[in-house]
Amino acid sequence: MTWLGRGIVLGLLAFIVLGPLANLALWAAAEQWYFPHKLPVSYGTKFWEQVFKPRGDAVTSLMTSIWIALSTVAACLVLAIPAGYALARLKLPWRTAILLAFLLPQAFPSVAVYINIARIFYDIKLNGTMIGVILVHTVHGLVFAVWITAAAFAAVDRDLELAARNLGGSPLRTFFTVSLPLAAPGIMASAIFVFLESLDEFTGTFFVGVPDVITLPLLMFTASIAGNYQIAAITALVLLVPSVVFMLVIERFLKADVLSKVGA
């Protein structure tokens, strides 16, 4: 391929990949933009002030989203650390089947499942509550939490655990002073995945959270459908920040020795 051909292909690809993001950024910076203008008529921060005004819808939604995501991470870790340790180190019948069971919520088209969770939650008064949404996000995030945590424990050097036991440490003490600290970076990586999944989750919240729990993705959706493109673009950018930051730091937590044991 000549340098010209390569340039054209890469340029076209850059247009396809980055064009939609550029359009979003333009809308976030635009104050006025209407047909037939190819670029915004005027730029400004009017809509940013509107989005970030204290006690505004967006700030409330952001707080709701973060609170739900942190609770989901806590719930996932409480469930996944014992489960991950058992999967990595203890005698367990049907080990593969158990590993696969956690994949189930991601392996089925989920809309119909969420509809029925909403129906069940409605009967036990969990619909439209934070707890309901946290439960749904937790089940969805468990696969990351359990699989990565199990891999992190499996990557811990067995000899170090044995040494601690030989020096007279109790099993529980060995777990808390040796296994857990050594597996911590992997567990942190799983927490990041669960946090992102929860922060970005739309479908489950759409059915289970309405009308009272409005997370940032739902607020963005509502603004977009109502035609408030500036508000939608600004909220979308807020959602993008953690995704990009985590993409940059994830390699620091998820090392190759852990990665090679995921799902194994």
């Binding site: 469930l79 203890l90 919520p105 969770i117 479908t203 059915f207 993008l240």
Partner: protein, 273 residues
């Protein structure tokens, strides 16, 4: 550690119960409701209604997801292939930097990006007009089934390409070098040496993408909520406007079947190997 054999199951139980209560139970509930008449009792009526109202959308869903999967596969092979066989280091580095961008972008955000980008007076058409490729009155919006396909391909290609490129990078270079020395073109090496060997990885990536696309509600809602559209939108519509769980679950059942058929093809392949 001293292990009586009881501790393991005990530690896994809470997490497993969570999946049972909040996934397996609602799934079963969904399967039963699909075959249940309004007053109770077994019926195929929900399916009759689903096909009567939504057979076009079921077909559309299959076409949209089938076409998206095909395009994702081609794009992922092209990207992985160039990353492995590309001879211009700067172009390879640029591509590696470029293709990953949409990977971690949430579907709602991707849909919002495309909603503005693909509109009749969005940045895409504006660029075409500015470059003189189109006249202002020739532009058309892509916010219909084509927009859904474009959004899916844009969002899912990096994921599959990442898997495929990783698999290609771990292959034995000596076969590739040997083929090069014998004068084989890079395109031939890609399709006769690389692709057959990374097929299992490619298929796993595509199946995960397939299920993801079957589950996404935000993209069809935001790109093209009008009929004809995807089954996910119809399910949400039956629930939110009519409280019609029977038909919604019948549609859900059909979407499970489509996914199961897809997984079956994969498993049959895996067993044969």
């Amino acid at each position: 550690m001293h292990d009586s054999g009881r501790l393991g199951p005990l530690l896994v139980a809470p997490a497993l119960l969570m999946v049972l209560a909040l996934f397996v139970y609602p799934l079963g509930y969904s399967l039963v409701t699909a075959f249940e008449a309004k007053g109770g009792g077994f019926t195929f009526g929900n399916f009759a209604k689903a096909f009567e109202f939504y057979s076009v959308d079921i077909g559309f869903t299959l076409v949209i997801i089938g076409l998206s999967t095909l395009l994702i596969a081609l794009a992922a092979i092209a990207i992985g292939g160039y990353l492995t066989l590309g001879e211009n280091p700067r172009a390879v580095a640029l591509l590696r930097w470029l293709y990953r961008w949409p990977l971690f972008i949430p579907f709602v955000v991707a849909a919002q990006c495309m909603r503005s980008f693909l509109a009749k007076n969005g940045l895409m058409n504006n660029t075409f007009v500015a470059l003189g490729i189109l006249e202002l009155d020739q532009t058309t919006g892509f916010l219909d089934w084509r927009g859904i396909v474009i959004t899916f391909v844009w969002k899912q290609t990096p994921f599959v390409a990442l898997l495929v490129a990783g698999a290609m990078a771990s292959l034995d270079r000596s076969t590739i070098e040997a083929a090069r020395n014998l004068g084989a073109s890079r395109l031939r090496i890609l399709f006769e040496i690389l692709v057959p060997q990374v097929m299992p990885t490619l298929v796993v990536g595509l199946i995960l993408s397939f299920v993801t696309m079957m589950s996404v509600l935000s993209v069809p809602l935001m790109i093209s909520g009008e009929s004809p559209t995807m089954m996910t939108v119809d399910m949400a519509f039956r629930i939110n406007n009519y409280g019609d769980y029977g038909t919604a679950n019948a549609l859900g059942f059909i979407s499970y079947l489509l996914t199961a058929a897809c997984a079956w093809v994969y498993l049959k392949r895996a067993v044969r190997q």
